[in-house]
Amino acid sequence: MIDVGSTLDEHIYLIDRALLKAYADASGDHNPIHQNEEFALSVGLPNVIAHGMLTMALAGKYVSDWAGGSATVKEFSARFIKPVIVPAGEQVDLTINATVVEINGNQIKLDIVATSAGVKVLGMAKAVVIK
């Protein structure tokens, strides 16, 4: 039974440099801050960072897995409040959980929490799914 206040099981996605390259190719976003450490440092970033939209794509996978597939997602929004930092040769976590905050018929609204290395990376992350 799904009620307002129900929580979804947490899931941990792993992000590394190879995934950033794959996302750059798949999305067409080849900004060097997501691939080139020297460039990222030169513009004041602590290291290479993940695309905000990769973080959001993984959060989209999380909610669509719960709701029953990509076609269930009707609305989806997030703010990119902190970067996911991806050092060379490491896998960093993207840890996601969510809470049901509204139910209207078959439409369920979720509040999503996404952290990496314990830092909240998405703000105001919400999705409306059909389930």
């Binding site: 190719d25 798949a26 905000g52 794509a57």
Partner: protein, 129 residues
């Protein structure tokens, strides 16, 4: 500086974009999605961002793409994107403001297949000063 006269205007992307199954498969593979009969929910960013770049960097608007940071993103998905969909994408500059030396623009993108509105999305883009 972004031309303030561009606020409130809608610009039509020049390109007609046909979605292929291999593009959907590649995007899905990154996030571990194996069911690819429809595109993942955020797939349309692939189309919107490239159209934003070609529209917003025109001299009459004047966004410096090299200084761009993505602030937030919202999608309303009216139906899922599938392979073979052919889209035109518009960009509407809804607001422009300056804060702490950064220009902050809110842009809406509408993806239409013929007359059918398939996805609307809103992006806040920050041009670092």
């Amino acid at each position: 500086m972004i031309n303030p006269d561009s606020v409130g205007r809608t610009f039509e992307g020049a390109d007609v974009i046909t979605v292929t199954q291999s593009e959907i498969d590649a995007f899905a593979a990154v996030i571990g999605e194996t069911q690819t009969s429809v595109a993942p929910p955020t797939f349309s960013i692939r189309i919107s961002l490239s159209q934003y770049e070609s529209i917003l960097t025109q001299p009459e608007i004047g966004v410096d793409w090299t200084r761009l940071v993505h602030g937030d993103q919202k999608f309303e998905i009216y139906r899922s994107i599938v392979a073979g969909d052919t889209f035109k994408c518009s960009a509407t500059i809804e607001t422009l403001r300056v804060a702490a030396g950064n220009e902050i623009i809110s842009v809406r993108s509408d993806l239409r297949s013929g007359e059918e509105l398939v996805v609307s999305s809103w992006s806040t883009l920050v041009v670092r000063g």
